[in-house]
Amino acid sequence: MSEAMQSAQALPVGSEGKRSGGWWGVLALIVTEGSLFGYLLFTYFYLASQSEQHWPPDGLPVLLMPGVNTLILLASSVFVWACERCIQRRLMRWSLASMALALMLGIGFVVIQLNEWSKLGYDMTSNLYGSLYFTITGFHMLHVIVGLVILMVLLLWLALGYFDHRRYAAVTIGGLYWHFVDAVWLFVFTTLYLTPYLY
């Protein structure tokens, strides 16, 4: 009998934080989703660099509201992180409040973004830029909506008292996905809103 097996060390049972399968699974999911956004942005730069049209056709994008919206999304991520910290410190009420706040900020992002869309004078079919803009931000919007459903479900589970400081892997895993959705927005924002200022 080997020594490695004789060790009488107690092992955690079940979905324990970063040792759970789900944590690893969502990391792999993020890699593949990150690649998807990579290809989307490749498509944007590939087409933009060869375009003979004025780019963007309607002139440089306005930065104020999208910038504020970016901060809102990042703040939402901070509160998801805070929610997890509160669980670790056994502050269950605070964790609930933090998650609810994160959810509301996320919904705020969606509302502002929809409003931004409606103000634009073009849509997916108007021109090449419109196709790119709405496909890329649309893909991101879809991810935000999925993320919001996840946050909502996590809020429900927290409210039902499913988790405490010993078992809360779902919050860690769902939270990581939300952080990804927010981080990838920074790339989308940089590409669509900032790089047009460079040329």
Partner: protein, 664 residues
């Protein structure tokens, strides 16, 4: 729940895994079987998450697709056997060669390897299942539904018809107005989901589910191959899914990605397609090469020569494989500098490939080969690999490729690599693992016949295609004129293809006969070294009665090889039977890290797969409300699936609070 009752409150959150023995027939073993077996009847059939069942389903389904693609090829060969034939119309021919490619590349070649890996990984790694058993079921169901989806328009005469790589603008709405391309586009996005979740499952399984002691340098090469392919897939598949989705948007929503008139670029399609396509080529061969690297040494009666070199060359091939996609686009007018770079990168790939070839040759050379059926298939594979590899290096040279592009030479090359490196190892692998799958040996006589008929038929069929290509015969033409000088090579190819088909038929007959009358197999009939041969044939539902401890790369050959220190322990190990459990280990050293609670059988994967297929059907038919409804059904299925369960200790156990309350 009764398990939790017996244990102390604390043990539901952490405990020392019990070590013991569980011989066949003991009470412990019977309890394990009870825990892991699926319910009988249709309930178990729809809800099972057993990797062996799912693996077998993958193998059978993919093989049926191989036969379908094969029949399509035979019909085309009848059409091309003589010049000026009128068996098929040009449109029928286009649909046949497209569906032949789609079927073989997407519905056969990777799924069949996923079948092997699904069935074999947990057995090779000393685990009781994959990391995500329900995800495994989902990936199968989505694969099946995507296959049906892609074939849905075939009976209507509206199948995809723009070739498997589906170049725009020909695949655009302007030239292709029917539903053909929409079926292909949506079907591929759906299939991409299956490939992606399957790949994620393999990756996490490798890193988390190995038996204690099976450090990263002790895993079989098949595991390396499938891991490499899976990592590549999660990076590459989004590219093709996106390409098909953008094409669908262009066709049905009116966007302008590939629309030349409005600044879109058709070449974008080729970039996105081949950035995926070339890594995919390696994804469908590396696991098959892994099959050979694991099985060939058994018949050479010695370990594989150069294990580390082969494992590293597997990964090197894949890494380089991401930097060669332009070699599919040499004739598109890209700058010479780009062509030179990608040409050089393509040639460099021959180095890691040669490392593997020489490792196999050295293994045969230094061993004492046993010339039975699986060995013949693996040795035949090495020859075909070398031929296919050589024609690959030839087409990697830009000037020669400009001459050979779009000719039958390329068709010959890709069939040598895909049949040579995929079909031959797969058939050899089935001969090798058949006793493990079904507890019976396959017939050697029929086996040798099937090999020689397949090998002769294959070379007779596909070698003349090189000549046809050099004589200038373009691919994808539905017929040719008698004075072109292609008549002889085409009749040879047609005859060869039917001989090859006869070989496959012999193989199928062998399977059917052996299933009924094969000699019963012991747990290790080939005297092979790896863990899957330590369990009974066929393996019980729980795989390993105790989780083994692994001390070397060849746990069943330790007495002979004397490699490593200490001995693997197969009879005595972790019992882990408070519900479905297995051990999770650390990614590199495989030291015990966590006791994983494995899920029970579940209908959620089937329904999630069904509803997601219906979402795509709704998109295809422009049923907006139906699509939204099905999307809602998908999220509902996912919520049911993900709901934190006490049994999996995904949430804080209630029972513990009750007990504490009782104590107070």
């Amino acid at each position: 729940m009764k398990d939790v009752d017996q244990s102390t409150p604390d043990s539901s959150l952490s405990r020392v895994p019990e070590v013991g023995c569980a011989p066949i027939g003991s009470a412990t073993e019977r309890r394990l079987a009870e825990l892991w077996e699926s319910a009988p009847g249709w309930r178990g059939w729809l809800s099972t998450v057993d990797h062996k069942t799912i693996g077998m389903r993958y193998l059978v389904t993919a093989f049926i697709f191989l036969l379908m693609g094969g029949v399509e090829a035979l019909i085309m060969r009848l059409q091309l056997a003589r010049p000026d034939q009128t068996l098929l119309t040009p449109e029928q021919y286009s649909q046949l060669f497209t569906m032949h490619g789609v079927t073989m590349i997407f519905l056969y070649s990777l799924p069949i390897l996923s079948g092997f890996s699904n069935y074999l990984w947990p057995l090779m790694l000393g685990s009781r299942d994959m990391a995500f058993p329900r995800l495994n079921a989902l990936s199968y169901w989505v694969f099946l539904f995507a296959g049906i989806f892609l074939y849905a328009s075939f009976p209507l005469g509206e199948a995809p018809n723009a070739g498997w790589f589906n170049y725009v603008p020909f695949a655009g709405l302007e030239y292709n107005t029917g539903p053909n391309i929409d079926v292909y586009a949506l079907g591929m996005v759906l299939l991409g989901i299956s490939t992606t979740v399957g790949a994620i499952n393999f990756i996490v399984t490798l890193f988390r589910m190995r038996a204690p002691g099976m450090s990263i340098d002790r895993v079989p090469i098949l595991v390396w191959g499938t891991l490499t392919a899976s990592v590549a897939n999660i990076f590459a598949v989004p590219s093709v899914s996106l390409a098909f989705f953008l094409l669908w948007l262009d066709r049905q929503v009116g966007t302008h990605f590939f629309d030349v008139l409005n600044g879109g670029k058709p070449l974008l399609w080729q970039h996105l397609f081949w950035m995926f396509g070339h890594p995919w080529v390696y994804a469908v061969v590396l696991p098959a090469m892994g099959i050979v690297s694991d099985a060939l040494p058994t018949f050479c009666r010695r370990p594989l020569v150069g294990y580390s070199a082969v494992a590293l060359s597997t990964m090197a091939t894949m890494l380089l494989g991401f930097g060669v996609w332009i070699h599919h686009m040499f004739a598109t007018g890209l700058p010479t500098l780009a062509l030179s770079f990608f040409s050089a990168a393509s040639m460099v790939i021959s180095i890691p490939s040669a490392v593997a070839v020489f490792a196999w040759l050295a293994t045969i050379w230094l061993g004492r080969p046993v010339f039975n059926t699986p060995f013949l298939f693996f040795a035949g594979f090495v020859i075909l690999f070398v031929i296919g590899g050589l024609s690959g290096v030839m087409t990697a040279a830009v000037p020669l490729d400009l001459q050979l592009n779009e000719t039958y030479f390329v068709v010959a090359h890709l069939h040598y690599v895909l049949l040579g490196i995929n079909v031959f190892p797969v058939v050899g692998g089935i001969y090798y693992w058949f006793p493990k799958f079904f507890g019976r040996m396959m017939s050697e006589t029929l086996g040798k016949w099937s090999f020689w008929v397949m090998f002769v038929g294959f070379n007779l069929g596909f070698f003349p295609m090189h000549v046809a290509g050099l004589l200038g015969m373009p691919r994808r033409i539905y017929t040719y004129a008698p004075h072109m000088g292609w008549t002889t090579v085409n009749i040879l190819t047609s005859v060869g293809s039917f001989v090859f088909a006869a070989g496959i038929l012999l193989f199928l007959v062998n399977i059917l006969v052996s299933l009924k009358r094969g000699v019963p197999a012991t747990s290790n009939p080939w005297d092979a070294p790896t863990l899957e041969w330590a369990v009974p044939s066929p393996p019980p539902a729980y795989n390993f009665a105790v989780i083994p401890f692994v001390a070397s790369r060849h746990p069943l050959w330790e007495d002979r090889l004397g490699e490593g220190t200490g001995r693997s322990s197969l009879e005595q190990g972790y019992l882990l039977m408070e519900g479905r459990e297995t051990i999770g280990t650390t990614p590199l050293d495989a030291t015990p890290d966590i006791i994983l609670k494995m899920p029970d059988d579940s209908y959620a994967p089937f329904f999630l797969g069904l509803f997601s297929a219906l979402v795509f059907a709704g998109l295809l038919l422009h049923w907006r409300d139906f699509t939204l409804l099905m999307a809602a059904a998908c999220s509902l299925s996912l919520m049911v699936w993900m709901w934190p369960r006490n049994a999996l200790v995904q949430r804080v156990p209630d029972i513990e609070c009750d007990k504490e309350a009782a104590h107070v």
